[in-house]
Symmetry: D5
Subunit: 122 residues, 10 copies
């Protein structure tokens, strides 16, 4: 099984590069497969970023995320990889991804990653 | 197709220019047209600002926003343009616009812009 | 692509066949594929039935529903087929399935089927 | 200005005509224009029906409803006309439309129509 | 002080008199005055009816309800009088008014009246 | 300790005795004392009735309910006694009381009584 | 492992046996053990009944339900057994138990049983 | 028409002047009149302050706010005037008023004022 | 009438005095009496503190708060006194009490006190 | 009775040790036993941490938490012990646990602990 490829992600030119502003994208239909059990996992991704020169295109994001549908990976790896891919393609001023997965065994897990490294002391 | 014109926006004198205070205006009936597909988009705009010498008049804001009803533009451009127009007309001490669009293809997007440029590091 | 097979469904003996009672099972992680666009659809199934001699086993229901993950079918067909399969395997005194799909193009659809045919005049 | 035409509505064959079942379609992005003031109105349509030989196709419903975007009509007329058009095209066993409009002047209005004529004494 | 007059209520022709259908109107900004204490009362009126030959016009309803703003009357009388006035002017096939008042002294009251007299045994 | 007395309850003339209509009164601040432990109990009473010749007056209801503040009685007795007292004083066409008590030991209890005796088979 | 014993259940005399009324008891802290996996299950029981000569005492109900804490049984058996025990001890005019279990494997199950056998055709 | 007078506002001695603490008062039944259209406006006021030597008395606040019932004034003026009056009468260490008005023309407005002038840069 | 006595409050040794941590206790069943009208007031207390050497015991807190049941005192005094008593008995590193009272005359009030004096400028 | 042992907790290698990110785990099915009364307590644990070299494995966390099912301990001790165990096993960069227990005697308690000691002055 091949890795979901960041080559699927398309961008368009930021219409206002002179201004710092935030784009939030919420994807409640994310699904991947648990590499240990082969069972599907479900979750909601919230991606917030300040674009620099380009923004990612929504339809290409959707196609990219569908690559995870039959892909086996742990929560922590998936979330970090999506951040790495989106940062590589859009080179944003900053980006944060919050992934909220549905319960398994009565336990629910969220993973929050950001670029560049935030100071979590607050 | 002509651009929505900021000339539609009317103002009235700020009754308390000596005091910094906030006016929030929420417009849940915003609609524009996707320039790629020609399909309508829907969203809610929340405009918060500290007026300086003038405030914008609500009825004229409504007429101005209705100009977008059959106007084709991307989320990011629309939100930035509305901020630019409102800032040009009211010259506020500060202003923020949050635009929340309804889902397309299972994905939902918000755009948040502000004047003057905020420090998003917080 | 083969059809999801009702042979996956397992049953266990109804512990109280002398009494009419209701079992409700809610599956919020149902996903199938649109046969026209190839895009995934998502939804929640609610299955309510009065068992006769057997009940369906939950783990086997889960495996059966996962067969739809990469299966192309319209909302109406999927819901009717699941009812047909569950009725064939458990021969319940009655059963109703309510399928609620997530929005596409700003439009949301639910399909409600029941066995035996209800009188919808109420 | 021409009337929204029912010719836009397409249908597909009911996959289970032997069974009475319900399809609910919710359209939260309906908008038309008030014929008196020229101002846009907004609302949510909920269409529930038992199909007979055909179901209406969702994308064509969307295109049909978009015809009201710049069309002037009162709440009561709009709702009745949509019912008439959908009944004419799909010849359902029964259909109900609930239209919920957003507030105007601090007053909110809903219109509920059904086919065939229900007994509202309940 | 004069009574709020039903002469303020205007009607328009029912566009679909051949069909029994329901119009619901919700007025969350109703206010009157307690005749005992002189203090204002606040509430929400929900009016649901099946029109016969005419519907009431919303703007005139608003003006009529504003007549109660400085009018002293008890909850039960107000609700019954509004029903009497609306029935007199529109001659509906049936009508129900639900009035929900805000708490006074830690106690909240609703009044529900209908025309023609319903059988409340259900 | 004396019993809360129905003599505290005052009535006023029903302004519309010709019509069957419903008055709902919600009292979220009811409190009494558990006769076994001496600890306070808390709950919400919802009283719905169709008045005949008289309605109960709200302020007197409040004073009457406050008599239970330091009165020891079980949930079931309290609810039945309040119904008996309100029926005796107002002679309504029908009345229902729903008492919802706050949790004790992780268990929550509601008591629902009505006059005249309803047919609970529905 | 012994069965939870109905001998733990205590009753008290119904204070109003002349009247049909309903007592609802909600127990959100029910837990038992899955006999197949040995893992704990969690759920909420809602018990509604019309008492005849006696009511069950709440503290004894709590102790009885705690017997299931380390007891292995399937959802359907547990719910039916609790109904059988409560009916045996209180001989109610009627009783219904609704058991809502927390999700397992992304699937949630409710069981609804009643005495005497209801007509579920409605 | 005379202005609502701050003379109606009464105060009582702060029971703990040695400690900075916050009193929040929420008034959901505020209503005034639009000076342009003569139509009533409705809103909720939330007043939060740290008292110094005196607190305002709630009943007198209620009487003071009722003076706006038939008084014509714009949102921004009303909110600033109420702050000025309350500050003049109670001389608090600090105070903030948030006024949330109900929608007009599909647009909702809030006004937030504070004393002494806050630094809104945060 | 005697004052509620802090002598009722019992404490137990903080099991982790080496670590700063927070204990939040929420009491939704607080009731006292208005000294002016003699009518009961109701509210919810939320107590949050960082214990030093001791924690307060919950059952004794409950008994202490029940002393206010028939005690007449204003909102501001009650909240400050409870803070004083709890601080005196537990000598916490810090403590905050938020008291939220139910509406009276359409107006709702909260009182927030803290120890040691917080800097409310934030 | 033996203490729940941290030896049950298993870990896996942090897939992105170069980046500070947060993992939140929510466990709504926690239950232990009150050491004084022998009655079960119920609650929800929310664990948030920034992993360093390892993350804890969810299934082993579940088994570890089940050890508390028949274990007697006070709220404050339980929460502190779970933090101590998770910190010892995973050596995180930081960790916070929020434990929310269900009401007892009308009073609800939360305990919030963190590592390393936070500055709660904010």
């Amino acid at each position: 099984m091949t890795e979901p490829s960041r080559d699927l992600l398309e961008t368009f030119e930021n219409p206002n590069p002179d201004r710092d502003y935030v784009i939030e994208t919420i994807c409640p239909e994310f699904t991947s497969v648990c590499p240990k059990t082969g069972q599907p996992d479900y979750g909601t991704l919230t991606i917030a970023y300040i674009p620099d020169e380009v923004c990612f295109e929504l339809k290409s994001l959707k196609m990219y995320l569908q690559e995870y549908r039959n892909h086996g990976a742990f929560y922590e790896s998936v979330t970090n990889k999506i951040l790495d891919d989106l940062v590589a393609v859009t080179q944003p001023r900053s980006m944060e991804i919050r992934a909220e997965f549905t319960p398994r065994g009565g336990i629910r897990t969220n993973v929050i990653v950001s670029y560049p490294d935030e100071n979590w002391d607050e």
